[in-house]
Amino acid sequence: MNRKKLIANIVRILLYAFVIGFFIYAGVNGYFSPIFEQTDTFWVLVGQHLNLVMLSSILAVVIALPLAVLFTRPRFRKYEWIASNVANLAQTVPSLAVLALAIGILGVGFKPAVFALFIYSVLPIFRNAVAGFNSINPDLIDAGKGMGMKASQIFWRVEVPNAAYAIIGGLRTAIVLNVGTAALAYYIGGGGLGVWIMTGIELFDNAYLISGAIPVTLLAIGLDYLLRGAGYVISPKSASQTADSATST
């Protein structure tokens, strides 16, 4: 046990050292210079990036959550596999192909990018929400019914709170994925930090590449932490523990 801990700590320290070393190296070589020299452009790109992620995620939540609720009701539960498979299928199509297909329908620019990202977010959100609702012990629902709770009361006071942690888990996965995938929006004129990343790749210009890539990474990590915090606030300690064990198995 202690040995494992020691190894874990060594790995962690090495990793931190590497990250810090990288930042120093990048700073010394002026790889962050585009951020300081073109600060206005930088913020525009960050804004575009966030817009892409937020809009697509909100759309995905609006579509995926009601579907998850619908397919976990007793009457529709038997059709859940169909919905899951459709969502799975959407996930297996390569991101660039989705972008290309989206152009065909929505033209170039911001809209098809949002659409493509939306397609990618639906599955993790739907899957996790379904898992969250399904992980609720049927005895709880039976107890609720037996005590005279109405169906809506059982849903809001028992099912939603106990599934909340898993639902937010799906949201986290979707958003982190989206922050990364949104960099590809550049290819169809969707904007975002992908503009600098792809420019950097095409021109072999490390400064642009790193000035685009590092903020994307930080954005993903930051949003993940934020949502994790939200998960703990929204669902009480005990509920998040049970949800954790339910989704991890």
Binding site: G146, M147, S238, Q241
Partner: protein, 335 residues
Amino acid sequence: MISFKHVSKSYTGTEKAVNDVNFEVEKGEIVIFLGPSGCGKTTLLRMVNRLETISEGSVLINGEDIGNLNEIELRRNIGYVIQSNGLFPNMDIEENVTIVPDLLGWDKKKKHNRYKELMQLIGLDPMEYRKRFPNELSGGQQQRIGVIRALAADPPVMLMDEPFGALDPLIREKIQDEFLQIQREVKKTILFVSHDIDEAIKMADKIVLMRDGEIMQYGTPSDILIHPKNEYVSQFIGRDRAIKHLSLRTIAQLQEEIGLVEIDQSIVDSKQVNIHENLKDTLAMLLNQEADQVIVHDDNDEVQGAITIDRVQRYLHLEMRQKPSQTVEKEKVME
């Protein structure tokens, strides 16, 4: 109080989970539905708060057919306890306990007072547990919370589906005693599902013994032990039914019937026992060779006499012979 009238339940056409069940439950009694798994006892119980539909016949509470009542209202007026306690993990203990009062729209203060009252009933500190969550409690504590949650809105009727079945024997015994104590105070009409004959003998005022959806016998524990109606009943309650029956009788009752014996002063090592101790435990004491005689005290600590194995045996013979039944005689013939 509660009447079952020709109650049947069929899932698929011909097969009946519950078949033409008829009986009455008196107010303030604990009636235990006893039988092996799949005998329909849980289905029968869940019909009372309409978690199961009734295919034929009717269940009446205070003369009113429950089929005519609003489902939600009906359930809020019936306490419901299940084996896995069914506490909501997202709510703290106080919220869990006061959920039915909350559904009924009680105000905050009334709910809180009721919470404190109920926690005191099971000897848990209301303030200490208030903000704790169910998974921070032991299994026994969770089950007790489950019981008081069902009592929260003071319903006249309680349904309990193997409420103590998941607990280990020591804790189960303790909670059974505690529950009987509570019942003496609250005097609810309780329908209780169990597959444990000892639990039924200990807790029940009456037992409904079931098999394949039909009632095999309905009567007091003593009645069922002394006069099992048929082969199935005597098989289910076991060959030691006479000994089991002793757990329903106290030394005081033996004294009344046949009297105690003189204390044999030559025996040095004798145990002391209260006169209200049941005869089964007394016999166990004697058989464990803890003593050849047990000296009996009454509540004022005055010595009443002594009891020996012979005495218990004589009482038992008398009990079994005094109230002869067909099955008992048949067994004798077979011997």
